[in-house]
């Protein structure tokens, strides 16, 4: 009988290395003769570059080299776009403008790199930055995405007529037609501000060109080593087999470490190829706030058309999406927003005019949630307002609009981030809501506790929201499983790992298929020399795409094991069992052969390969989903607001999550806790504050407030399992689920707590200051 390991709360294989400081992170790489780089970055957000003089910097003892865009000659070019606009949407207006290795003509955002200095230590390299003389002519700056569309606005890209980066319209049904007949049409404007990922490890790169071996090795805090290897190889005219990209242990990523190509990735590689010595660049925290991508900034003009009993007839969501100075990531984020505005609800008519707008700010690529939180915020807030205006309970209005569980797969018609029409593979929303209401005792709280507390003058509030999460997008991942002659099992796959526990959850699959202990499965991710093909870790796809590739590869090896053992033990395969590292005849347990012996048998010194066979017990497989699997859930929260200071305390937090088959509940719990913590940051603490000059006013952890343990409540979790029909494991992603509904939930709960006639929260994040202004009915201050 195969020991059931998939779905077990198994502690992690990788923890002992991390806990004892024996895990290699990029900044731990030390190479003989290694030099250190620092970047001179523009303090102006928009300026014409008149000239740079490196002479004084080059004279400083310890400085080995310094380069500007000019020094790169023909090697200088804007990066290739990472994601193109979907060809499947007609007449998409899209202007690709991608980031540059070093500024040549014009600075387009504060922090954009002007020059690189390479020295014997980072200390000396930073000293030399002050020796560089730069002639910058400041230009007018545009940071607000609405003012960026004014005809007389400064232009981020001089070769375009406007700051429009993209414009497209997505339609489902015919909103205009049903709007007139609706009993109630609600119109609101919703503003969502920028946030940062704030991984504890900043970005870092070590690039080393070994001229004698003609081998380029790059350690990079990337989420996708294989596309980086492919890009660097083509950029610098090398074969892919001359380039090895290693994402060792990565200290959290949350999205921005998928972006490609960061200027530093190009420049470190270009410099080591030119100089022949290994070079290390470690981003410091202040650089991270300027040079690492950010996300969330959007402005929505929304209309919701309903019947008098709260049934949604149609939704119109015209919105602007802030892409910052460049748009290498295509339309992924705003397409996610459009899909998640539809959410778990049946919205027959939908229209969305989307404009992506350039501004003089750091460029935008996905941050955990990647456009989904904004979509959920829009629909859940509009439902709350509709409930209030129609006199329907806010839970009731959600229940009335859920897609029933017999409509799946449900085609939402509009195009999603994978360039296909957005199909929800499976779902079962009502029980998740019922469970959440039961866990937070919604009836008892709203009927008994809240009224009593309100009499005592206390402002307590409850919130309940539902959401979906598109996960597990293609194109594909691959994996190789090998039984070595020692009996050890080694697995390799192309995704990178940033704390998601792949070394354990994937090992559980292989261990179950091959009857070994999880601790005996040695797994490698993020090393292009170990596995040549793949995409990367993002969009909550690890547990879907890579896990299914690992599963398929393990089953190939299982087949080979049983076939070889059947011969060796002269017993039909059906009567064999694989357990504890041996293949045993079920009825005669004493007759067995170890996996290691079988591996040796599969690769004898003579006569190993018959025509059409291959040596060894190894299987390689690839998995590409037809389309993404859609997870979902309901979150609920109780908060108390101090009516005098406007400080908010979260009293209870409930999650009911459905991410299909769960590989490891312990790891899923961790993903949900971390997601909610980031969501709480996004709701009340974390906002990137830019002034009109494009200056970031809180580029440090003292003023960009990442929540500590004191701010994050205990989170109660319940699971529901609606397996995905799209993959053998039935799994869906969960990496971003925790972060997606929190801002919408927080706004509803705080609004419910304040309980002020006419006070509507239509923005995120909030802060004590903003609650003070809303509570006292004042306009936004400085």
């Amino acid at each position: 009988m195969m020991a059931k390991l998939i779905g077990k709360r198994i502690t992690r294989n990788e923890d002992p290395r991390l806990l004892t400081g024996q895990a290699l992170f990029v900044d731990d790489v030390e190479l003989p003769g290694m030099l250190h780089a620092a970047f001179l970055r523009s303090e102006y957000a928009h300026a014409r570059l008149k000239g740079i003089d490196l002479s004084a910097a080059l004279e400083r003892p310890g400085v080995v080299a310094a380069f500007t865009a000019e020094d790169m000659g023909d090697d200088w070019s804007p990066g290739p776009p990472l994601v193109i606009p979907p060809p499947t949407i007609e007449d998409v207006e899209f202007y690709t403008r991608t980031q540059v290795p070093l500024v040549k003509d014009k600075v387009r955002h504060a922090g954009e790199p002007l020059a690189i200095v390479i020295a014997e230590s980072r200390y000396i390299a930073e000293d030399a930055l002050d020796d560089i003389v730069v002639d910058l002519e400041p230009l007018d700056v545009v940071t607000n995405i609405e003012r960026a569309l004014d005809p007389d606005s400064p232009l981020v890209h001089d070769d375009l007529e406007s700051n429009i980066a993209a414009h497209l319209v997505q339609e489902k049904g015919d909103y205009a037609a049903i709007r007139e007949g609706a009993d109630k049409v609600i119109k609101r404007r919703i503003v969502i501000e920028r946030g940062a990922a704030g991984a504890m490890e900043n970005r870092g790169i070590v690039a080393s060109w070994d001229i004698k071996q003609q081998q380029l090795t790059v350690w990079d805090t990337t989420q996708s080593p294989i596309p980086i290897r492919n890009g660097l190889a083509s950029m610098f005219g090398l074969s892919e087999y001359q380039v090895r990209v290693i994402a060792p242990f990565v200290g959290g990523a949350f999205g921005p470490k998928i972006m490609m190509f960061y200027p530093e990735e190009v420049l470190l590689t270009w410099s080591t190829l030119k100089m022949g010595s290994p070079i290390k660049w470690i981003e410091d925290r202040r650089e991270n706030f300027y040079a690492t991508t950010q996300e969330r900034g959007q402005v929505h003009e929304v209309e919701l058309a309903l019947t008098s009993d709260g049934r949604i007839l149609g939704l119109r969501d015209d919105f602007l999406h802030d892409t910052g100075a460049y748009d290498p990531y295509g339309l992924t984020i705003p397409l996610n927003t459009q899909c998640h505005v539809l959410g778990p609800y049946e919205i027959p008519n939908f229209s969305s005019d989307l404009k992506v707008v350039f501004t003089n700010k750091t460029l935008t690529t996905p941050v955990r949630g990647a456009g989904r939180p904004q979509g959920v915020y829009v629909i859940e807030r509009m439902l709350d307002i509709a409930a209030r205006e129609l006199g329907i309970d806010r839970v009731e209005i959600r229940k009335r609009n859920y897609l029933p569980n017999d409509v799946f797969p449900y085609d939402n018609v509009i195009i999603d981030q994978a360039f296909e029409s957005f199909i929800i593979d499976s779902g079962d929303y009502l029980p998740a809501m019922e469970k959440a209401l039961e866990m937070i005792s919604y009836e008892k709280f709203t009927q008994e506790e809240q009224p009593k507390l309100r009499e005592e003058g206390r402002r307590v509030g409850i919130g309940v929201v539902s959401f979906i999460e598109t996960t597990g997008v293609g194109p594909y991942e691959g994996a190789r499983v090998t039984i070595e002659s020692s009996g050890k099992i080694s697995v390799a796959t192309g995704v990178g790992t940033q704390g998601q526990g792949h070394f354990t959850s994937f090992a559980q699959i292989v261990a179950e298929r091959l009857g070994v202990d999880v601790r005996d499965v040695h797994l490698v991710t993020g090393d292009t020399a170990q596995f040549h093909w793949g995409t990367g870790t993002f969009a909550s796809r690890g547990a879907v795409v890579a896990a299914n590739a690992v599963n398929a590869a393990a089953l190939i090896v299982r087949g080979k094991v049983l076939e070889l053992a059947s011969e060796a033990l002269e017993t039909p395969e059906e009567e064999l069992e694989i357990e504890d590292g041996v293949v045993r005849v079920a009825k005669i347990p004493t007759r067995y052969i170890s996996l290691g012996d079988l591996a040796q048998r599969s690769n004898p010194l003579r006569g190993a390969v018959e025509p059409g066979t291959e040596p060894g017990l190894e299987g390689t497989a690839y998995f590409g989903p037809k389309y993404g699997a859609t997870a979902f859930g309901t979150h609920a929260m109780i908060v108390e607001v101090d009516p005098e200071t406007m400080i908010v305390e979260i009293k209870r937090y409930i999650i009911v999550e459905d991410c299909g088959t769960i590989l490891n509940p312990l790891i899923v719990e961790g993903q949900l806790h971390g997601g909610v913590a980031l969501g709480i940051g996004n709701s009340f603490y974390e906002k990137l504050v830019f002034d009109d000059n494009g200056q970031l006013l809180n580029a440090s952890f003292a003023d960009y407030l990442i929540p500590t343990a004191a701010e994050i409540p205990t989170i109660e979790i319940a699971h529901q399992v609606t397996p995905s029909p799209l993959n053998p494991l039935g799994s869906k992603g969960v990496g971003e689920a925790g972060a997606i509904p929190v801002p919408a939930l927080f706004a509803q709960a705080v609004e419910n707590a304040l309980d002020v006639e006419g006070l509507e929260i239509l923005e995120s994040p909030l802060s004590p200051q903003r609650l003070f202004e809303l509570f006292h009915g004042e306009e936004k201050d400085a």
């Binding site: 303090e43 202040r286 009109d692 200056q695 970031l696 006013l697 809180n698 400085a782």
Partner: protein, 152 residues
């Protein structure tokens, strides 16, 4: 960042105006100014060392005087940059004669950029207030001095 306030100087409007347009005095007005010279009728160029506790920001920059209506009002524009960042500001100064002297009303806006803006956010607003307070005291002292010279 908004800057506004007023100050009564004991001296005639003409004296105060002359003071403001005299580079030596203007240098005193901005504490920490190490160099200030007049390039043309309406443009000054100089260097200032801004000391805020352990923080020392040295800036070089320019001051422009525009739409001058002596001795009543003018617009001052200033911009400068240094290692710690850059600043850009503009504001108006109005002088009105009063029985107890001259009332100066100033209001304007200073924008700080670079390192100081992104980390020293708390510093700037407070520092500009302290600097203006010291500046006004410097101008008072210069006025007293000038009045004393005129008297003896």
């Amino acid at each position: 960042m908004r800057i506004e306030g007023e100050h009564v100087f004991s001296g005639s409007r003409e004296d105060v105006w002359a003071m403001v347009r005299d580079p030596e005095v203007l240098a005193k007005l901005l504490p920490g100014t190490t160099k200030l010279n007049q390039l043309s009728e309406s443009e000054y160029e100089g260097e200032i060392n801004l000391r805020i506790g352990p923080i020392l920001g040295s800036f070089s920059g320019r001051i422009f005087v525009e739409d001058e209506v002596p001795p009543e009002s003018c617009t001052l524009k200033a911009e400068g940059e240094g290692r710690a960042g850059f600043f850009k500001g503009s504001g108006t100064v109005h002088l009105t004669e009063q029985d107890d002297g001259t009332l100066m009303v100033y209001e304007g806006d200073i924008q700080i950029g670079g390192k100081l803006a992104s980390i020293g956010q708390r510093l700037i607003d407070m520092t500009s207030k302290t600097m203006i307070r010291q500046g006004m005291k410097g101008l008072d002292a210069a006025l007293e001095e000038r009045k004393a010279e005129a008297a003896d």
